[in-house]
Subunit: 411 residues, 2 copies
């Protein structure tokens, strides 16, 4: 692993002087090479699928693991769209000339070397490498053992493609040892890795956050709330809740909990529930919710802290906005929350006091996404507050550097 | 500690709605109260000094611990200057209206609750609290036991002052238990503290970085280099090195190591050394440095990795810019480095390839400082890459939040 680290440092130094044009040329070469070599990649992927079937992986996992020509073309399309995005590096973020004549510029620069630890999705191998390259970073990829043949094929295609463009092939490196040990070594590769990004399920992210001494960018879970204020448009509320709960079940920006004002519950909850019933969503609520609509099951305190990722929703009744805000700030994972209201003052107070990465008025929480926010690409959604918060695009893969131009100044 | 945490969460909620005007009023009230109560504070400080003398603290530590009317007035002046700075919160950093009509604003908001762990300097109690308050953060302060009486006096004066302005006094809290245990509890106060900033010596910072599960903003050490390029103006190089090495010895932006091109060493090193000799700076160099100037002692590999904080400097001879850059990137702590050159291309390459927070052309590394960079105030100098890099001002005590304004949008 140290040897990979040393090669990555050399690649980082190489990348510190490449131009936007050179990076985009390398990205387009990767896209072309993926298309050209799709048969080889599909063949290697077939070995992973065969091994996966023998190991008894479930259909969902096998589907995530599977690559065919169509999926490889989609990955290549994605690479081309990243190439078309603006370069996040070299931007002058601040500039000042001080009274002593020093010109001080704060510019965006690559983080340096990024480690990515992920699971059985071979598309991440290309997606993550390409976002790192576009932002000028060297990357060390460590995917799950289930996808190792696919990952080796994809990584070698990408390395050969950038090498032909005059790049150090070690700008992209793959860890081929997929033991737990290699992940653990990466978490302690201080001095080589500038940051580590885990991509995958809760267990993986927790393990990395708790064990890594390398700084981590955490992409977290979402126990997202929608609060139906007393003045809400009930039809709008029902539509938004239906969308946020059921449009896609297993995602971090899905709505998991409904908070509802006692003054509107009798009118609103039956309508909301009727719409959710069309998708058989199980509703678990407090006593007042159970009285307001038929078929609401009792909620425990644990329900209010659970990210179901399922056709289930909890309901909490409150008597005013203050109670709603306090409940949400206590139970949420600080991902995405929404208020449905026609009250201007309440909207403003909700926006100010809710301590989450993305706070909505009268819209579905499902929009918390790099693409929907117009960032162009997304490496994940951060629920931490340092460095990056909310959907992370290319810009979040950069840091800053002060460049100071003098002519002999001393202090 | 959990009880302090809970009070801080309530204070954070309170602070989410205060205006810039209210914050500045509270800051000016703190400044006035510190001046009014300076006698009380001096009396409490006298107890700390007495205890310190009995415990055998050295003169340097006693001096850092000491407060008199003059020093308290200087602290109050500092508070007033922070009040006069622009509010770092509520800035719209990005704004987009999406094709579906959603208005998405990215705004700066307080981090929330900040923990500060520091040592025996009672001025930090006021300085840190005031920077946190100005940036809308609740703060939990945990200073060293040597200053506990002074800290209690200062904190209670500040709490009373903001309380009279209608603020929750728990916006500022002091941990009065100064055992190692209380610091350890703070490092694991996840869910209450949004970040932890250690302020003090290397040992303190290392302990916090290695043990804290709360995200840390690291303020690090500086093994700063100055590279004298072949085309350097020798007099300018000697002046800058003299300034960067000797103007103040114990600071993180002082120059610790000189890297010099072999083509200029015979002309430049004797002049540089002659100037440093006026302050009896010990020079430890490689073989070529020992040949180029009289009185250079031999340097070990360890010297090149040492932050002396003393009247000592190491000298490394290189044959070209590439060797200089590789040596510096290997040995530096990524704080501040400078090139002295008249070569335009070399200056650009040094700026691009040196991986440090602040990179200079033809100026002293001593300028890496919030005040010198025009940030107005400084909470520390970050040598990490995530969140903040280089001198940190008020802006680095904020995070961002997406506010999304809809009228019923679903996905």
């Amino acid at each position: 692993m140290i040897s990979l680290g040393k090669k990555a440092l050399a690649a980082k130094d190489f990348l510190s002087t490449v131009t936007e044009e050179q990076k985009n040329k390398a990205l387009l070469a990767i896209a072309a090479a993926l298309r050209e070599n799709s048969k080889t990649i599909v063949n290697e992927n077939a070995k992973d699928l065969q091994n996966g079937r023998e190991a008894g992986l479930n259909e969902g996992l096998l589907d995530r693991l599977m690559l065919d020509e169509g999926r490889i073309n989609a990955i290549a399309d994605g690479v081309e769209s990243v190439a078309a995005l603006p370069d996040p590096c070299g931007l002058t973020l601040d500039e000042v000339t001080r009274p002593n004549g020093l010109l001080i510029k704060k510019v965006s620069v690559p983080l340096g070397v990024i480690g990515i630890i992920y699971e059985a999705r071979p598309n991440v191998t290309a997606d993550a490498a390409v976002l790192c390259l576009k932002s000028g970073n060297a990357v060390i990829l460590r995917g799950g053992k289930e996808a190792i043949n696919s990952n080796i094929a994809i990584a070698s295609v990408m390395r050969a493609a950038i090498s032909e463009c005059g790049f150090d092939e070690n700008c992209i490196q793959l860890v081929t040892d997929t033991s737990r040990n290699s992940a653990n070594e990466m978490m302690h590769l201080n001095g080589y890795l500038d940051c580590l990004i885990p991509r995958g399920g809760k267990g993986l992210i927790k393990a990395v956050v708790e064990n890594s001494t390398v700084p981590v960018i955490e992409t977290g879970s979402g126990n997202c709330h929608i609060y139906v204020d007393e003045s809400a448009d009930v039809d709008m509320a029902a539509n938004i809740i239906f969308n946020a709960k059921t449009q896609r079940i297993g995602v971090c920006n899905a709505c998991e909990s409904l908070v509802i004002h006692s003054g509107i519950i009798n009118e609103a909850l039956p309508k909301i529930k009727a719409q959710l019933d069309t998708k058989n969503v199980e509703m678990r609520g407090d006593e007042r919710a159970m009285l307001a609509a038929d078929g609401v099951l009792p909620a425990s305190e644990e329900d209010f802290e659970t990210e179901y990722l399922d056709y289930k929703i909890s309901v909490k009744t409150v008597d005013d906005l203050d109670e709603a805000i306090k409940h949400i700030n206590r139970c949420s994972t600080k991902h995405s929350e929404a208020i449905i209201t026609n009250n201007y003052k309440n909207a403003a107070e909700f926006l100010a006091r809710i301590d989450s990465s993305s706070v909505y008025v009268n819209a579905s929480t499902r929009f918390t996404d790099g693409g929907e926010f117009g960032l162009g690409a997304e490496i994940g959604i951060s629920t931490q507050k340092l460095h990056a918060r909310g959907p992370m695009g290319l810009r979040e893969l950069t840091t800053t550097k002060y460049l100071i131009f003098g002519n002999g100044q001393i202090r």
